[in-house]
């Protein structure tokens, strides 16, 4: 890719990001004029009600969407690199299902979202550890099986205990409805740590991509590298899921599109996937929210259209095309 092409892509991504943030801030149930939104953002608004709508309702939603999308894509690109399979992501490795199960279980016993991050981490790391031990040779198959078992256990939990189904579905499908400033406060420190860490692993991932034998020949220690990369990927997925629920396919689609745009070099692929994941989840959420607002009878609160439903519709065709390409190759 030429320098001009790369600069063009960066400019396009920045413009899309600004456009998405503005769209999220301007669209809502209350018909707040654009001028009032701008006034709040520039600090000239005198109305506390407007400030609450823009800064406490709309802004956290778009920020959490961007951050969670970014972490899901980073998690996807890392796991894909480790298993050398572009189909791996939180929803296909069982890590998403593990995190969702732990969050749902914690909600059944202790209502309230304060423990979501810790529960998601425990669930995702435990699933990742099981995968690392039992499924290192056939991670793709083991992950799908593990995910199915964990989803079944989650359903069982819902049958046994009548948890609030709307809230629980939000974690299973993934939703950005009714995000709060506290959600963003819990998310951003992880972003600051995990995204740079993923990029620092890029040189090792490029070597690892050449196969175990070539990587050992170039001085990589396989056990250590796989453990560090998987742990980073699992923590990224858990953090995203704690903030937005187990949104499927962002970790699959964003790296896939990034690979088509910038190629296979992880030094560029990791940041490109991170940016695309953020934009993709935010765009899908804009679609989900617009549908909730426009359609009569659909709620816009917690039980509104979940963003996970939109990403599943977007992601399924990409997954099918990837599988077809795999089979041809």
């Amino acid at each position: 890719m030429t320098a001009a092409g790369r600069a063009g892509l960066v400019a396009l991504a920045a413009a899309s990001g600004v456009g998405l943030v503005l769209a999220h801030l301007l669209i809502g149930r209350s018909d707040l004029p654009a001028g009032d939104v701008i006034d709040v953002l520039t600090g000239r608004s005198g109305s506390p009600a407007h400030e609450i709508i823009v800064l406490d309702y709309r802004l956290p939603r778009v920020l959490v969407g961007l951050g969670a999308g970014c972490l899901l894509a980073v998690s996807g690109v890392l796991v894909q690199a480790v298993v050398r399979n572009p189909l791996a992501e939180p929803s296909t490795t069982g890590v998403g299902a593990g995190a969702a199960l732990a969050v749902v279980a914690s909600l059944v016993w202790w209502p309230g979202h304060e423990r979501a991050q810790a529960a998601a981490l425990v669930g995702a790391v435990a699933t990742g550890a099981v995968l690392y031990v039992v499924g290192r040779r056939a991670l793709a198959v083991a992950g799908v099986l593990l995910g199915a078992v964990l989803a079944a256990v989650t359903s069982l939990l819902l049958v046994v205990d009548s948890a609030p189904i709307g809230t629980v579905l939000r974690w299973l499908v993934g939703s950005l409805n009714a995000r709060t400033p506290e959600d963003w406060a819990r998310l951003w420190p992880w972003l600051v740590v995990l995204v740079p860490l993923a990029w620092l692993l890029a040189a090792h991932l490029n070597v690892w991509a050449l196969g175990d034998a070539a990587a050992v020949g170039l001085g990589v220690r396989p056990g250590l590298l796989v453990a560090v990369v998987l742990l980073t990927a699992v923590v990224a997925a858990a953090t995203a899921i704690a903030a937005a629920g187990a949104v499927a396919f962002v970790g699959l689609v964003a790296p896939h599109v990034a690979r088509m745009l910038v190629g296979a070099d992880h030094r560029v692929l990791v940041p490109a996937s991170a940016v695309l994941g953020a934009l993709l989840l935010s765009l899908a959420d804009l679609v989900a929210f617009s549908v909730s607002v426009r359609l009569p009878g659909v709620a816009t609160d917690v039980s509104g259209v979940p963003v996970g439903a939109v990403t599943a519709l977007l992601g399924a065709p990409v997954l099918v095309s990837l599988i077809r390409r795999e089979n041809r190759a």
């Binding site: 050398r84 572009p86 990029w199 620092l200 890029a202 040189a203 090792h204 490029n206 070597v207 991509a209 050449l210 196969g211 175990d212 034998a213 070539a214 050992v216 020949g217 170039l218 001085g219 990589v220 220690r221 690979r259 190629g263 296979a264 070099d265 030094r267």
Partner: protein
């Protein structure tokens, strides 16, 4: 002192020992060919010397010291490996793959920055890939891919090279080019090369020393003239052949009867 040595080395896969209790000394600045029938353990031995396969017992010495005494990256600065099982990363270009050979010398942090370096372009030039540098590896022929893997190993700029069937997929001209390249690496850079070859005549023509294995044991070891005999061909490969001096170099050349 030998550059690379095996002492009572047990090599194999998992718990299965393929090459038991082997002793081998590789002298600096020589080209050694490992030959033998399929399943004789020659690739297993090479990959165990390269620490790609975990050894089952015994010791591998690099420059007279146990190979584990140095970190894996330090070993990779001294010892380059061309495996048979390299994976073509989805969408990677020739340059991107060959650049990975610089990993041990430049280090992981420096690899995060893009830099054109001389070793990368020298390796591309030596394998005739300069014009294909920006092509996708998965769009190239088997022979061109094999040359890219060889270029990656050369970009590593090590004193010792272990090549597992380097001539696989190469057409005759590129096989000849590669063997001449190996000879010039030895003559001009004092490099030590150990390679697994299937073509016995190629081994006899280009190696200083031929080691013939069968069932994990060394059956013949020495100069091509000493090893390439009708008796060895019968014992190791089970073929009835005559050996004549090749008309160009006078080295032994076998023809099956």
């Amino acid at each position: 002192m030998s550059v690379l040595a095996a002492r009572r080395l047990d090599a194999g896969h998992g718990r299965r020992v393929v090459v038991p209790g082997l002793d081998l000394e590789i002298e600096a600045g020589t080209v050694t060919a490992l030959v033998g029938p399929n399943g004789s353990g020659k690739s297993t031995l090479l990959m165990t010397l390269a620490r790609v396969l975990r050894r089952q017992g015994g010791e591998v010495l690099l420059d007279g010291e146990p190979i584990d005494a140095r970190s894996s990256v330090e070993v990779a600065r001294r010892l380059g490996v061309l495996p048979q099982t390299a994976v073509v990363p989805l969408g990677a270009t020739v340059r991107e793959v060959v650049e990975q050979g610089r990993f041990p010398q430049r280090g992981a942090w420096a690899m995060l920055r893009r830099r054109d370096d001389g070793a990368l372009w020298r390796a591309l030039g030596l394998t005739g890939l300069t014009d294909l540098a920006d092509r996708r590896l998965d769009s190239l022929s088997g022979g061109e891919r094999q040359r890219a893997w060889i270029a990656m190993t050369l970009a590593q700029e090590t004193g010792v090279l272990l090549l597992d069937e380097p001539t696989t997929y190469l057409d005759v001209r590129h096989q000849v080019d590669l063997m001449r390249l190996v000879e010039s690496l030895r003559d001009e850079h004092g490099m030590t090369v150990v390679m697994v070859l299937h073509d016995l005549n190629q081994a006899a023509r280009h190696a200083d020393r031929v080691v013939a294995l069968r069932d994990g044991r060394v059956r013949a070891d020495g100069s091509p003239a000493a090893v390439m005999t009708p008796a060895m061909l019968a014992e190791v490969f089970g073929i009835d052949a005559v050996v004549v001096p090749d008309p160009v170099t006078g080295r032994p050349l076998f023809v099956a009867r």
